[in-house]
C-alpha cells in the first residue's frame, strides 16, 4: 500500500477530475438539504414545460415544477439508492464470498449454486417481485438491486480469498492458532481491500445505471420525490417539445457515473 498524500492525489488526473465531479454533485446534494431554488414538489400551471431561463436554470417539467430543484433532490435519492445497494450487495457479497472461499467444501458448493442461480435470475424479475409485494419505493429498489449485486461481489471476494488463503503469512498465522473468523476479517480481508474498493466504485456506476433502467420499466422511486432515473423516464415523452427537461437529468446521471468511474480508475492505479 502506498502512503496517501495530498500531493500524490493531486498528481493523478483521474482522481482529481473524478473528485471534482463528485464534489460538485455532493455539494449540490448537501445544499439541497437546506435550500433549493423552489420547493421540488411545488406545481405551477402557468409555468409548465418552460425552457432554460434565469428563473429556472434547468427549466420546468410538465407540472410546472422547477427541474433544477428536482434534480437536486433526485440526485440525493439516486445517490442514496446507489449507496444502499452497495452496502447490501458488497456487504452480503463479501461475507458470503469470504466464508465460502475460506471454508470451502459442501458449504461452498451449496452457497455457490445459490449464487449462480441468483446470477441467472433476471434482476428485473427480482425487483418486480419485491415491488409487487411491498409497493414501489426506493427502499424496495435498494433491497432488490442490493440482492442482485450480491453474486458478483461474492464471486470476486471468493476468488481473492482463495488466492490469499495459501499465502505464507496466513499459514503462519494459522500455526499460531488464530481463529477462523479473526483470520478472515483481520488477516485476509484487509489484503483484498484494493480490489474491493475498485469493484465498489464500479458497483456504484452499475447501481446508478440499473436504477435508471428499473425506473424506465416502472419500478423506480415514488412520486412526487423522483430519483434521477425516474425523472429521466418521466421526461422522455417530452423529447420533442422540451429537450432540456430530458437532457438535464440525463446529463447529471452521466456525470455521476463518470465521477464514480474516474475515482474507480484512480484507485485502481493507486495499487
Amino acid at each position: 500500500m502506498n502512503k496517501i498524500s495530498l500531493k500524490k492525489i493531486l498528481k493523478d488526473p483521474y482522481l482529481v477530475i473524478g473528485g471534482i465531479i463528485m464534489g460538485l454533485i455532493l455539494l449540490m446534494i448537501i445544499v439541497g438539504f437546506f435550500w433549493t431554488p423552489y420547493e421540488p414538489t411545488k406545481m405551477s400551471a402557468s409555468e409548465k414545460l418552460q425552457g432554460i431561463s434565469l428563473r429556472h436554470i434547468m427549466g420546468t417539467d410538465n407540472m410546472g415544477r422547477d427541474v433544477f430543484s428536482r434534480v437536486m433532490y433526485g440526485s440525493r435519492v439516486t445517490l442514496l439508492i446507489a449507496v444502499g445497494t452497495i452496502i447490501i450487495g458488497a456487504g452480503l457479497g463479501t461475507i458470503i464470498g469470504s466464508l465460502t472461499g475460506y471454508f470451502g467444501g459442501m458449504f461452498d458448493e451449496v452457497a455457490m449454486r445459490i449464487i449462480d442461480a441468483l446470477f441467472a435470475f433476471p434482476s428485473i424479475l427480482l425487483a418486480l417481485v419485491i415491488v409487487s409485494v411491498f409497493g414501489v419505493g426506493w427502499m424496495q429498489l435498494v433491497v432488490s438491486l442490493g440482492i442482485a449485486f450480491v453474486p458478483s461481489f461474492a464471486r470476486i471476494v471468493r476468488g481473492e480469498v482463495l488466492r490469499c488463503k495459501d499465502m505464507d503469512y496466513i499459514q503462519n498465522a494459522r500455526l499460531q492458532g488464530v481463529g477462523n473468523f479473526r483470520m478472515i476479517f483481520v488477516h485476509i480481508l484487509p489484503n483484498i481491500k484494493g480490489v474491493l474498493a475498485s469493484s465498489i466504485l464500479i458497483g456504484f456506476n452499475n447501481a446508478v445505471l440499473a436504477e435508471a433502467g428499473l425506473s424506465y420499466l416502472g419500478v423506480g422511486s415514488q412520486p412526487p420525490y423522483a430519483s434521477l432515473g425516474r425523472m429521466l423516464s418521466d421526461a422522455q415523452q417530452y423529447m420533442f417539445t422540451r429537450p432540456s427537461y430530458v437532457m438535464c437529468p440525463g446529463i447529471v446521471i452521466v456525470l455521476m457515473v463518470l465521477g464514480f468511474a474516474f475515482l474507480g480508475e484512480g484507485i485502481k492505479r493507486w495499487e
Partner: protein
Amino acid sequence: MIKRRIMKKKGTSILMVVLTTLTVALSGCSSDKAGDSANSSNTTATSTDTATSTQTDADASAKADGNATTTDDLSKLIVGIPQDIDGLDPHNSTGAGTREVFYNIFEGLVKADENGNLNPAVASDYTISDDATVYSFTLRDGIKFHDGSAVTVEDIKYSIERNMGVDGSEPLIRAYSKIDSVNIVDDTHVDIVLKEADSDFLTQLTVAIIPAANEHPDTTPIGTGPYKYVSNSPQENFVVTRFDDYWGEKAYIKDVVFKIESNMDAIVMDLEGGSIDMMARVTSTQANQLSDKFEVYEGTMNLVQALYLNNDVKPFDDVKVRQALCYAVNPQEIMDFVSDGAGTEVGSAMFPAFTKYYMPELNDTYNTDIDKAKELLTEAGYPDGFEFTITVPSNYGQHVDTAQVIAEELKAIGVTANIQEIEWNSWVSDVYSDRKYEATVVGIDASTLSASALLSRYVSDAGKNFVNFKSEAYDTAYANAQATQKDDEKTKFYKECETILSEEAASVYIQDLPEFVVLNKKFTGYKFFPLYVQDIAAIKPAN
C-alpha cells in the same frame, strides 16, 4: 520526466471527456429555442389545416359506393392498441382492450352504437314482455358467420347458455344467473326467459354469438362482425380483414392490423415514423407534439375518475373529513395540470355520456373552499390535519399525475397525502378485492350501457363496493330504481342515488378524463362511443 508527460496527456484526455459531456449538455439545452419556435408554428399549423385537408375529390364516388377501388396505400390501416388481446375466445376474454378490438369481429343479439343506443344485430327485431321477464328475438334473415355458415337459432341458444354455465358451473357473466331458460320457438325465433323482472337486461345481450359447431373457439375465432380474424402474434399484432358477406354496411378498409404498442412513450415517434396510423387514448401532451399529418379527435373516456376513499378506515369514516377533502380538491386545477384543461367535471358517480342520468348541478356541491374545509376538519377533530396514503396503479400515468396534484392541493388544509404506486394486478387484489387501502385514484367505467353499471357498487353489501360506502337511504333508492319498470321513475331514483353519493361525499369525484384519438389524415370517420370500443368499420380513406 516522461512519466509526467503521459500523466499530463491523460489529464487532457479526461478534461476532454468532461468538456464533451458539457458540450452535449449545452447543445441539448440550446436546442430548446428551436423547439419553442417549432412548437408555436405547430399549433398554428393545426388550426389552419382543417381548411386544406380537402384536396382531391376524384375518388369521392369510389368511396360512396364501397371501397374496393381505393389505392393500395389506403387499403390497410394500422391501429395501435395499448394492451395485448387476452385470448381469442370472446366469452372468456374480459380485458377492456380485448373488448374494443372484438367489437369489430363479434356481435351480440343487439349492438351498441355511437349514441349509446342498442340496435338489433344478430337479431333483426326484438320484443320485451310487459312484465320484463321474456325477451323475444327474431334471427336476422340471411346472416352468416365468417366461415360462411348461416347463423341459426341453435347458435344463439348455445352462445347464451355458454355464458350461463348450464352444466352446473358458474355463469361467466354475473347477470346471467337471472336467466331461467333460452327457448327456441321456431327456426327464426328465440325467447330468453328471466327468473325475475329486469327491464335493463337488454344491455347484457351484447354478448358475442358464435357458432355452436366450432370446437375450438379459443384458437379459431368466428363471429358475425364486419371484420374477420386472420392471425395474431403475442405482443406483436392482431390482424383482421374485411368480411365481405357482412349483413350490414360493409367496412371501408380491407386490411386492419392492430399493433400492440406497449411502450406508450414511443407513440409519438411511431405515429410520425408511419408505423401506426391510429392510436386511441393518447395524452394531451402527446397530441400536442404531433405534426399536421394527423387529425386529433377529442372526446371523453367515459369513466368516473375520483379520489376513492375507503369509508371504513379512520379518518374517512367521518363524513366531515370526506367533505373537507371535497372542498380542498379542485377538479379544474387537476384538469389544467394533467391534460391542459381538457376533461369534464363530475360531481357524482355518473359521467356525462349517460345524458339521461348525468347531473351537472352536482359539480357545485363542493366548490373549492379552503376555509370551509379547515372548518370541517376542526369539527371532525383534526384541526392540524392528518396523514394518509393514496395508492395508485403505476401503469396509469394520468391517475399518478392526478394523485400528485391532489397531494399538493391538500397541503393547503394541512393534510399530508403520501403516494404509493403499485402494480395493476396488486391494485386489483389489495385495493379492489381485499379493500386494504386508505385512498386511491382510478377511473371506473361502465361495462354495459346501464346506469346500474356505475351505481350498483355503492349498495352497502355489494361485492364490488370497494369504497365500503354504507347508506340505507342509498340502498332504498337503488332498490326502487331496480324494481320499477317505468323509465322516468327509474331515472328519478337513479338521480336520487347520485345526489346521496354527492352529499355524503362517498369519494372525491373529479372528472371524466378527456380522450384524444389520433388518426392519420389519410383516413377519416372516427366515431366516439360511450363504451370502450373502436368501430374500425366506420373509418374510411379521406379522399
